[in-house]
Amino acid sequence: MDGTALLTITVLAVFVGFEVVSKVSSTLHTPLMSGANAIHGIILVGAIIVAGQAADPWVLAVALLAVVLATANLVGGFVVTDRMLHMFHAKRDVAKTGPGPGAGRK
């Protein structure tokens, strides 16, 4: 893809990024940050490409390190975000079924 097309996509993505989180309540700041954090773990795709093309063992070693780090970012990011959000979900169930410590603990 040529440079101007990539630039166009980049600029449009900036506006989408601004727009998409413009109205978020402070309660969700932490999960949203964590979710965005998981999404940039997609650098894994780049790390896989570089590792897949590596001919030299040193290059491969460094590329595989990048794969490990990127996977940790991607997998860990989504899992920890899901855990945070699970608690928000549990909260609504409790509100419906009535409060109480221990209630709703399965």
């Binding site: 900036v14 969700l28 965005a36 940039h40 590596a54 997998v75």
Partner: protein, 457 residues
């Protein structure tokens, strides 16, 4: 292997990019947040499957092994980490992502045949390294492996300027020559810049810095997409960079700070006016029974939970105490400061874990006018978010941060471990006021004693 032609590859990457956009949008609203996160994970699965099917890759066994290794380490940690330690885990994941982007850029230097690509490489190297090292320092601060107070030394601005100038010079040289040793030097300078950037940031501001570094990593990933000519990396990285910037500003606004003030405040000097020494002024300390009498014969009690409550795992006891008081006909609410805990929304997550009913959690704007009518404000393990210095002392590092107006309540009871200042390292004058009494001890044990005494009334 190459099973997919370029058109299908592009379409699948597009699908993944759409998933990421929907994920961010879903995460902005409580109702759709969890589904949004799963949509994001789906996008990631599509993208990773696509790269295996479309590019001609060698070393596939090695790569799969590395992915397995990364997952085996990260998933259990993410699943088992205590909710109180979640902010530092997010910082850690963010840092390794930045590190991965920098390594990818470093390895692509050999293939870069024009200066524009090398410019993108230089950007990725520098920003990725800053994010990696900066996140490492935020992790150490939040984990309390190092002091949470701002670390400043006299020559800091000069050292920072020298490092940045050297990085720019090395960057220009790499763009012009493509020299690998200089690129490694640039990486090292980026790491140094990351450390220097975060060291002077005070503990209370660390969450905002995590968010900022998160946006940085996004930008580094976008730039690495330009290096590899991969549209998905460009779109995903730019999305995170842009939304992360907005989010950082929103967080800073919630704390009444400016991003520039947080990063460079300590450089200007004088802003770290917090006291390190434990004050010798007298305080009124009381017993669990005294506190129980105060609470048990009140009509309206507002509980202000802070990080100390979370650390002591006292959420459940606090919820029980609230129930016991309500059983006596007392109106009880929890007042949640936007940055109570360690991050915006952190305390909501922790109290939700303890099954505190949603209706009892009041946000700051809603509860502040009600402190006037409260008989007792019970502050459990919170300090900075109720410190009047934020309103009155313009030299204080937390000056301008909106606080919970507990001083308005008729009586204020602090449950505290010690007289040590809070996370921001600032003394709280409210502790010495005549309407204030203190009960020292671990938050959970103190709450349990008070609970027992209330039940015995």
């Amino acid at each position: 292997m190459s099973l997919l032609d370029p058109v299908w590859t592009s379409l699948l990457y597009l699908a993944a990019a759409v998933c990421f956009i929907l994920a961010l949008r879903g995460l902005s609203s409580p109702r759709t947040a969890r589904r949004g996160n799963l949509v994001g994970a789906l996008g990631a699965v599509i993208a990773v499957a696509t790269v295996f099917l479309s590019a001609r890759l060698g070393n596939v066994a090695w790569i799969l092994g590395a992915i397995a290794a990364g997952s085996v380490v990260a998933a259990p940690v993410a699943r088992r980490v205590k909710m109180t330690q979640m902010p530092q885990l997010v910082a850690l994941f963010n840092g390794v992502g930045g590190g991965a982007a920098a390594l990818v850029a470093l390895l692509e230097l050999g293939h870069a045949d024009n200066p524009w690509v090398r410019l993108a490489i230089v950007f990725t190297l520098l920003v990725g390294a800053v994010s990696f090292a900066g996140s490492g320092i935020t992790f150490a601060k939040l984990q309390e492996l190092m002091t949470t107070r701002p670390v400043v030394f006299p020559g800091l601005p000069v050292v920072m300027a020298v490092v940045l100038l050297a990085a720019v010079a090395a960057g220009v040289a790499v763009v012009l020559t493509g020299s690998l040793p200089l690129a490694v030097l640039l990486l090292a300078l980026g790491l140094a810049a990351g450390v220097l950037l975060v060291l002077p940031v005070g503990g209370a501001d660390v969450p905002i810095v995590i968010s900022l570094l998160n946006a940085f990593t996004g930008l580094a990933v976008a730039a690495s997409g330009l290096v590899l000519g991969n549209v998905l990396l460009v779109v995903a990285g730019t999305l995170v960079g842009a939304s992360g910037t907005i989010l950082t500003r929103a967080m800073a606004a919630a704390m009444g700070r400016s991003v520039a003030g947080i990063l460079f405040g300590a450089f200007r000097g004088g802003s770290t006016a917090g006291s390190t020494a434990v004050s010798e002024r007298p305080v009124r300390s009381s017993s669990a029974e005294d506190v129980a009498v105060l609470l048990g014969y009140a009509q309206r009690v507002i509980i202000v939970p802070g990080y100390g409550l979370a650390v002591a795992q006292g959420q459940h006891t606090a919820a029980e105490l609230a129930l016991a008081l309500e059983a006596r006909g007392i109106e009880v609410d929890f007042a949640i400061h936007p940055v109570a805990g360690r991050m915006p929304g952190h305390m909501n997550v922790l109290l939700a874990e303890a099954n505190v009913p949603y209706e009892s959690l009041k946000e700051m704007g809603e509860i502040n006018p009600e402190f006037k009518t409260a008989d007792v404000a019970l502050v459990v393990g919170a300090n900075d978010v109720v410190n009047p210095a934020a309103k009155t002392s313009s030299g204080s590092p937390i000056f301008g941060m909106p606080i919970l107006e507990v001083a308005e309540a008729r009586q204020v009871v602090f449950l505290k471990r010690s007289m040590r200042p809070g996370f921001a390292g600032i003394e709280n004058d409210l502790l010495y006021e005549p309407q204030t009494s203190l009960l020292f001890g671990d938050a959970k044990e103190s709450l349990a004693q008070v609970l027992g005494a209330v039940k015995a009334l």
